[in-house]
Each structure stands twice: as C-alpha cells, then as structure tokens.
Symmetry: C2
Subunit: 406 residues, 2 copies
C-alpha cells in the first residue's frame, strides 16, 4: 500500500509540519511507501517523485516539522476540467496506479483544493480506485469551513511579535512619527488583524488597523492618524496589502507593478510605500513604511507550538479519513470550545471549499473600520499559544532540505 503527498501554493512555516503529519499517519498505518511529488502535482506529471521513507529517522522527522517553506517545493499549476482535457488526468492516474499509489494527499490553500476537487471528479467519473484528500494550508486563513488554517497561527505569532518590536522602535525619538506596516492579505484581513495581539495596554500600538474587508477612505485615514499622533506622538498603523478605496481601486495601484499571477490575482506591493508618501505630503509627519514581506510566511524561528502540533495532527488525520474511504474531502478544524480551547478534526466535501474565500466577518471589525473587536482577539489568542522548541545548530535554527534526502 503506497501513498503520495504534495504541497502547493505559497509556502508557510507549518506546511512541512503537516507534511510530517501525513508521513507519520502513513507510517502508523503501515503504508509500504510514502512518496513525495516534487513541485506539487507537477512532480507526478514530470516523473519527479521522491521516497519519504527516510523520515523514519527521528532526527530528520523532527527537523522537517520546524523547517519553513515547502520541503517538496510548490507549484501554481491550475488543472483544467477533465472534460476539457482528459489526457492530463489519465497521465496522473496512470502514473499513480503504475506505482500502486491509491492515496493522494494535497496540502494547500483554496487554489490547491481546486486541484483535489478536479482530480477527485475525474477518478469518480472513471471509477478509479484512488482516494484524493485535501489538507489545508495557508497563512492567509481564508479557507471556508475550517476554524483556521495550519500556518496561520505561526504567521500571526510572528506578526504580533514583530509589530510589538516595531512599536518599541517607533517611539525612541521625541517627535511625531508614523510607522506604516504592510501585512500580507489580498482580500482577507486575518493576518493584519493579528497585529492587534501586540498590544499590552490601552494606547499601545498598533493604533490603527485597516483590513481589506472594509473600503479604505483616505481622508478618514488621515483624520484618524492625526488624532493618534496628537494623543500618542508615535503612531503605528497596520494595513493589509490589499486595501482598496470605495471604487475598488487598490491603494497601492499607483506604485504597483501590475503583474498578475497564474490564478488571476493582482500582484500587490507597495501599499505601505503609497501611504508613506501620502502621509508625508499631506500631514508632513516623519513617516516610514515597513513591508513584512515573505518573512511573515517563512519565519520558522518563531512558530506557534499550537499551530505546529495541530498541523501535524491534521496531516495525520487526513490519512486516517482516507483510509476510512473518504475522498474529495478536506480535513478541517472545528472549534468546539474557547475556554478551554479545544478543536476536533473533521472532514468536509471539498466542493464547498475549493476556490472560495473566508473573509473576516463583521463582528470582528469595529464600526469605524479602523480596528478589530474583542471577538477577533478571543478568536486569535489560542492560535499563537506556546513556543515551539526550535532546534538550533551552529547558533541558527536548523532545517532540512530536499537535497539532503536524495
């Protein structure tokens, strides 16, 4: 009995913990071979697969859990419908059946779940005995059905920590200053919202938080900002990269390079820079834009213990659900209690998830649209809990890379 696992979409600090979970689940359930497809589904198409049986070695397994980014590489390949192009699906399934692979695990975000859904529709239609399971992953936390996504808690912990540090940094000089921190999130503001956890007292930074779920009003922002600077002197503002004005124009649009990625999302950058220029011109404050950039999705050195433990567990659960006969489903977290925090892992039809987005709901954003509510804090707090005991070598966090197991 063999299985194959792959990773897709943007990297996170927990996606390899989920991979470790799938591997562990397969080992426990006596799979003969656990294969990894390199660069997502492309590995199967290009005959680029590796054996992951080496992770029976405990040290390697431990390192995999703490290694950020996608160990097996990733892809952004969007599969066609099998009714449009059957050949590609024939190729995938023929390859798998030849290797006696009956289980396919795909770790990814909403775009990746689309791949699982399409492959599952094909194997069902053709009556091929392959189980296809989706395992969630995304720092963006924007998947429907699941309470949260593996990788989000660690990104949130990094963001809250870094925003607290940037707030310290922002108040050293005795003059009015503005610091604008740009956080990832095209259309969902979960990551930006997590900056609120940085606060230690009333009036602490971040002072203003803008999510893409609300229209961004430039004049209102400048008024909000003036009030904060007047009261606190050093204002820290957190904004999602994807904030737009009421006409749907991205705030960064003037400086954006206008590139598009494969899935048709606009490539965003420069929201902090655009606001920095605006504040300097209009208000004359000393202002600095800081873009957290890729660091927020790959900071393996400060990861949430809960996130990593749950990420391993959900990977393991995916194997168990597949062995129970499930296919075309995604495993997800169901929060059953906040105090004490408790989740169950369940499985749900992937057709309800693929390509859909879970944005921040109204009750978690304040009326003024410039902060989050206590509901958001209650939701976020358990997700960053605990410090994962990262193993260091030569005074730096140790990692493992694909070339080390080849």
């Amino acid at each position: 009995m063999n299985c194959i696992v792959a990773q897709s979409g943007g990297p996170t600090a927990a996606i390899n913990a989920t991979l470790a979970g799938v591997i562990k689940g397969a080992f426990i359930n006596n799979f003969d071979n656990v294969y990894g497809s390199v660069n997502g589904i492309e590995g199967i198409l290009n005959d680029n697969i590796v054996s992951l049986n080496v992770f029976k070695d405990e040290k390697k397994f431990a390192l995999l859990k703490q290694t950020p980014s996608a160990f097996l590489g990733s892809c952004r390949l969007k599969l066609p419908e099998y009714t449009e192009n059957e050949e590609i699906f024939e190729k995938i399934t023929a390859f798998m059946l030849e290797k006696d692979i009956k289980y396919f695990f795909y770790i990814g975000g909403n775009d990746s779940m689309d791949t699982v859904a399409k492959l599952n529709r094909y194997v069902k239609a053709k009556n091929i005995d392959i189980k296809c399971m989706g395992v969630p992953k995304t720092i963006d936390n924007d998947l429907p059905v699941t309470d949260h996504t593996p990788g989000f808690g660690s990104a949130a912990k990094y963001i809250a920590t870094t925003v607290r540090e940037i707030t310290c940094d922002s108040r050293v000089y005795d003059k009015d200053t503005v610091t604008i921190v740009e956080i990832m999130g095209r259309s969902a503001g979960w990551l930006t919202a997590s900056s609120a956890l940085a606060r230690r007292y009333e009036g602490d930074g971040p002072h203003l938080i803008y999510l893409p779920e609300r229209d961004f009003d430039i004049e209102k922002f400048l008024e909000d900002l003036k009030a904060v600077v007047k009261k606190e002197k050093n204002a820290v503002v957190c904004v999602s990269e994807g904030i737009k004005d009421k006409d749907g124009t991205y705030i960064c649009e003037k400086t954006s390079s206008g590139l598009f990625d494969t899935f048709g999302h606009k490539y965003l950058s420069g929201t902090a820079k655009a606001l920095e220029d605006l504040v300097r011109e209009r208000l004359g404050f000393k202002v600095r834009g800081v873009e957290l950039s890729v660091c927020q999705r790959c900071a393996g050195h400060i990861i949430s213990l809960r996130d990593i433990e749950e990420a391993v567990l959900i990977g393991k659960s995916a194997v168990e659900f597949a062995l129970m006969g499930k296919s075309g489903e995604m495993v997800f977290y169901k929060r059953v209690s906040n105090n004490p925090y408790k989740i169950n892992i369940e499985s749900h039809n992937i057709e309800d998830i693929a390509n859909l987005e879970q944005r921040v709901p109204c009750n978690m954003i304040n009326n003024e649209g410039n902060d989050v509510t206590d509901d958001m804090i209650t939701y976020l707090k358990p997700l960053i809990e605990g410090e994962y005991p990262v193993v260091y070598e030569n005074s730096l966090p140790e990692i493992i890379t694909l070339r080390e197991i080849l």
Copy 2:
C-alpha cells in the same frame, strides 16, 4: 553618590542590556541614585529624567535586558563645541551638579561618542568633577578600536536566520527566480556580511553578497547573477543599502527620497527595489526585493546570548572604569582568542573613536567583491552564539516600557 545614563542614536536589540549593565554596575558599587536621562542628552537639557532605582526589582531588571529599542528613548542631537556655545554645557553640568551626579554614561554609536568627547573636553577645561564614559552600541558594528559592538551580534543572528528562511522560501517554485535582500549599512558592510552565516552547504544561499566597501558594478552584478541562476535556479542576493557605483552614486539614488538626517548622512532606501527593477528589465527573471528594514535592529525575540551577556558586562565595566577615575574614554571589547573565543573589556580614549568609522577590511571580502571570505566567517561566528532565553507572556516576548516605571 549618583550617576546618570542615557541612550543615543539608532535603537538595537541589546542597548537595553547595556543599560541594565550600567544600572547593575551602579547598584553593586553602592550608588545612591541611578538616573536615566530621557531621549539622550536632551533629557538633561529639558529636565526630563527618571529614577532607575526601580530596577532593583529582579523581574523588571530581567525584562529590561530582553526589551529591544532604547528604553530611555534616543536623540540625534549633535552638541556644538563648547568654545562655540558654552551655555549648553553650563546647563548640562549645572543640572548634574545640582543633583549631585558625578558620573555620566552615554550608550551610543560614533555620533554619540562625539557628544561624550565634547562634554569631556568641557569638564576637563573647566575642571569640573564629572566623569564622562562612552559605552558602545550599534548594530552597524562600525566603531573603531572595539572588536565588535553590542547589538551587532543579535542583529547578525536575526539576519542570518532570516536570510536562511528567505532562501527556503525562494526555492519553492520550479522556475528561475531572484530574491534581493536589502540589509542596513550605509558605508560599512558588517551586517550584510553576516548573511553568509545562513549557508549550510556549498551552493546554498545567499549566493552573492555585496558590501559598500567595494564599488558596485552593475554589469558585473548581472553577469554574476546570470551564472548563479544558471547553476542554482533560485538566486538569493544580499546587498547593503549603501552600495554605490565607481562614481560614488548610490544604487538606490533613482528611487531615494533624498532626505538627509541631522548628521548629514543621506537617507537611503530602495536599493533592493532599484535592483529588482534592473534585474526584471535586463534579465527578465522573476525577481523580488525584500527590505529587512527596522526589524533587523529591534528583533528582541531572537537575540544572541553572547551579545546580551557581553552587553550587560560592558555596561557594568563602564561604571567600574569611571570609578577608577577614567573619563573621556569608551569601554570596548578586545578579542584575545578565537578558539576558544575570549574577550577582555578595556577602555580607550574617545577622541580616537568619535565620528570615526570601522569598515570591513580587505581580507574579509573576496577578490571579486561579491562574497565574504573565511576570515569574515571566523570573525562572525562567535558573535551570534547561544540563544537568549526570552521570557514570554501571553505567548509573545514580554517587554518593559518607560511608562511602566513612572
């Protein structure tokens, strides 16, 4: 017997550990009062000082050591020569003598040592019984005389860790990519050089490292880069913000805002962005610029144990040297052995240090000017050693701020 301490210049993750060291040195030596001047020398001029005796509380003292940025705030005030404006020096010394303060400790970089030198020249000329000691601080590591500066080791550890993570992130897709990481350093390349510690094997990132000590040749860079991409597919390049071409023009100059800070340094930003545009236009690779920005100087969550321990020690030593009668000097680290690593703390005439800069020497940069040498690695390695046991509260690194002791 009373003393006063202040912090000046850009914040670091270790400047408060040095403050803690001065406080500890004063407590051990039975000072009645340890005062802190808020916002550097400006606190004395504006009667804005605080008692630091509260740090007899062990918990507060421990938090101070791990809090990044300048606890007492900072300033960039450049004092005149006393021969030009005696009044300001009269004001400073009158304030101190009125409070029975006979010891002045100033924690800062080369600009701050200029303040110590000027104040010391004044008290010497006027025969005033005040001892003035400089205590080094700067992530830039660009002070002469001292082997390295407190704060540098922690910044180097953060940079090496982050560049390792960014390298992981950079290689997930099966396509040619370039990632350009911009690291602080106007004219000294120490911080950028520390990115080399991220490497785990031959061919690992960062693949190219450019320091401001060498002229940056755009055509040579593009050739270097093409070769790396051809061999490794995913290139990671680390550049100092302050790299210039052979005519002395900053690479970022096209995009720089052209602002100047008080000490006449050009305000730099956008070197990664400028190179990103260059690479996209000229080579057509998928390219991303990442600016580590202020995070590299305030990342209190990943600090070098050695840096923090040494930073406390040098603060304590400053008090001891002052009590021995020294004035107008800066305490510094003298490396006496590499294997095992050992330093002594000594004291040196500040006139040899103020306003001067220690750049990276020739033997630490390779002939091609696109990497560092083994001499640099040998120099750097001990400085990032050990993980400081950061105290967490509510799952985030805990800090202490000035308002909490008022």
